[in-house]
């Protein structure tokens, strides 16, 4: 006879309400893990999108995502001539705020040379940039549609293609422009500033500047040998794709990662305490019944089974509700929430362990109950 099942069935409404409360808590834990994964994935998306093996940046800089990096636009030709390089591209990166439909739109602009490395990996609607000016490929998270006109700087761009899940580490969706347009947007002085520069020294600095050169290396060549070869240029530094990804995850989003990780740990601890309190209270409510069970000869394992099985049922049902809830609403979060099966399994295991440990308090209380309590009025 399964006493835990019968007790749950007898007070099903109360039990399900408790499970629902727990599911909200576990849903928040799961969503925090998902946000953590999303943060890392978003940060890496930008670096992985060009499918490069080598990043060449300004000397003394850790690349365009960590700090400012400006190198001459013609560096690409020099890099392309190195042994083992099969493809190159010049890229710029810039955060901008545009207005569209009366609303502010935070965008992360990627400038690239059409037909070279650095463009969007996959277009889900429309096409890639075909003209050298005033065309834009935008991520679906911008809520822009094909044909929309977006003013950026002194020009207006037409959305010709859409991507999905292309966001920067800060969560801003990516838009792709031609390198020339992005350079104008980033480096060209506004007319009053240009006039002042002309009046000052009669020279306006060139806009042919890029943030990084990316390159793909032949499978027969070690990327590290290519990065070593770039040491000949004192004004350049190079890093492999793995090094670039490490900079993003270990440096750029490190604080946010730690913050979310810590918050997740606190939430898990709070969940454990709440589960323990719920189980303890459930046991307190049943002390007379436990005393009666002992009096009629129930062994300790029957009492322990009653408490532990209820705790496990509560944990499993709470986790399942929470997982379903977050899976259903994750796309409505402002930032990407990535739920990985491994994380779900790990949290489920953690919840089960927490339930078993938390029920120890209730079990301890139950085992101390004197069967004589059943005889008291």
């Amino acid at each position: 006879m399964n006493l835990a099942f019968r007790d749950i069935r007898h007070s099903l409404g109360r039990f399900l309400l408790t499970c629902f409360g727990l599911s909200l808590l576990l849903g928040v834990v799961l969503s925090m893990i998902g946000i953590y994964r999303g943060l890392v994935e978003d940060a890496l998306t930008l670096a992985r999108s060009p499918q490069a093996d080598i990043w060449v940046v300004e000397s003394g800089s850790r690349g365009p995502f960590a700090e400012s990096s400006r190198i001459p636009g013609d560096t690409r030709e020099a890099i392309a001539r190195l042994h083992g390089i099969t493809a190159t591209g010049a890229v710029t990166y810039q955060s901008v705020e545009a207005r569209h439909g009366g609303k502010a739109l935070r965008l992360y602009v990627v400038g690239y040379e059409p037909d070279r490395l650095g463009g969007p990996r996959q277009i889900v609607a429309g096409r890639t940039i075909a003209r050298s000016h005033y065309e834009m490929v935008a991520d679906a998270r911008t809520k822009l549609s094909l044909g929309d006109q977006v003013p950026l700087g002194r020009n207006t761009f037409t959305v010709v293609g859409l991507t999905e899940n292309q966001v920067a580490s800060g969560g801003d969706p990516l838009v792709y422009l031609s390198l020339r347009d992005s350079q104008e947007l980033q480096f060209e002085l506004a007319p009053p500033a240009a006039r002042r520069a002309m009046a000052g020294n009669g020279v306006i600095s060139t806009t042919d500047t890029v943030n990084a050169i990316i390159a793909r290396v032949s499978p027969n060549v070690q990327p590290a040998t290519v990065t070593a070869a770039t040491q000949r240029w004192k004004h350049l530094a190079a890093m492999t794709q793995i090094e670039q990804e490490n900079i993003l995850t270990r440096s750029v989003v490190e604080r946010a990662r730690k913050q979310i990780g810590l918050f997740t740990a606190i939430l898990l601890t709070v969940s454990a305490v709440i589960i323990a309190l719920i189980i303890y209270t459930m046991t307190m409510d049943k002390l007379r019944e436990i005393a009666t069970l002992k009096l009629i000869g129930a062994p300790d394992r029957t009492i322990i089974g009653l408490i532990v099985q209820q705790a496990l049922a509560m944990g499993v049902i709470g986790f399942a509700f929470g997982a379903l809830l977050i899976t259903a609403i994750k796309d409505y979060f402002p930032r990407r929430v990535i739920l990985q099966p491994g994380d779900g399994v790990a949290l489920a295991a953690a919840v089960i362990i927490v339930c078993v440990l938390a029920s120890a308090l209730g079990v301890r209380l139950a085992l101390k109950v004197d069967p004589g309590e059943a005889l008291k009025g």
Binding site: M1, L3, R6, E289, K294, G297, T302, A374
Partner: protein
């Protein structure tokens, strides 16, 4: 007591039990000796605080005495090397408890409240089912087998509690104020039932009671005052001794 009497089902010799130490010491039982034989329904009388419940707890293997000797159905309890699991086994196999407030498990229906004892005793599900239904029918609450305790009247709940106490055919039935929550008619029915069980199963019934309505259903009574047990005697109907 004559020498031709059978072996007692409950026998205590100079059982003592005290609580606390020093000024706070309370001698709940002082060298209590009694014997209850098969087929007997014996009353345990005494004012509040006289040690009736403590004696019931000692005989029910719930409270360990400080001194004395006790045997239940021929098995010596609290002898050398006794274990807690032995007491639990004795409660399950030899003793049936009936409480003043029935103490049915609220999350089990009547059938399960009876069947759980059989389940703990190792009956097969089919045998447990047959025995539980047979008992509920015998106590005229078979039609309420699917009801939960909260849905029962006081009399029905007490009869289900008796069914639970009798489920494993115990030789010793300990009842703590079994009729206190019942009217005269129901109290009489319950006591008649206990007498019938005692006679049919050769069981011993020891009932703590203040209820003078049931004195005529007792074979003998013991008076307990300040932890001391007086001589047993026949009940005096119409008032407490």
């Amino acid at each position: 007591m004559g020498s031709d009497k059978p072996q007692p089902l409950v026998e205590t010799r100079t059982i003592s039990k005290r609580f606390g130490e020093g000024d706070a010491r309370v001698d709940a039982l002082r060298e209590v000796s009694l014997a209850v034989y098969p087929g007997e329904v014996v009353g345990l009388l005494g004012p509040s605080g006289s040690g009736k419940t403590t004696l019931l707890n000692v005989i029910g293997c719930i409270v360990e005495p400080n001194a004395g000797w006790m045997s239940l159905d021929g098995e010596v309890v609290y002898d050398e090397g006794w274990r807690r699991s032995d007491l639990r086994r004795l409660r399950l196999e030899k003793i049936g408890f009936i409480f003043q407030f029935h103490n049915l498990l609220p999350f089990l229906n009547c059938f399960d409240n009876v069947a759980i004892v059989l389940n703990l005793a190792g009956f097969t599900p089919l045998a447990a089912r047959q025995r539980a239904i047979e008992l509920l029918e015998y106590l005229e609450v078979g039609h309420r087998k699917d009801a939960f305790p909260a849905q029962l009247s006081g009399g029905e709940a007490q009869r289900v509690a008796i069914a639970r106490a009798l489920a494993n055919r115990p030789r010793i039935i300990l009842a703590d104020e079994p009729t206190a929550a019942l009217d005269s008619e129901r109290a009489g029915i319950v006591m008649d039932l206990l007498r019938k069980v005692a006679a049919e199963q050769h069981a011993a019934v020891l009932a703590v009671t203040h209820d003078d309505k049931i004195y005529d259903r007792l074979d003998r009574v013991f008076d307990l005052r300040d932890g001391r047990l007086g001589e047993d005697h026949e009940p005096k109907v119409g008032g407490m001794t």
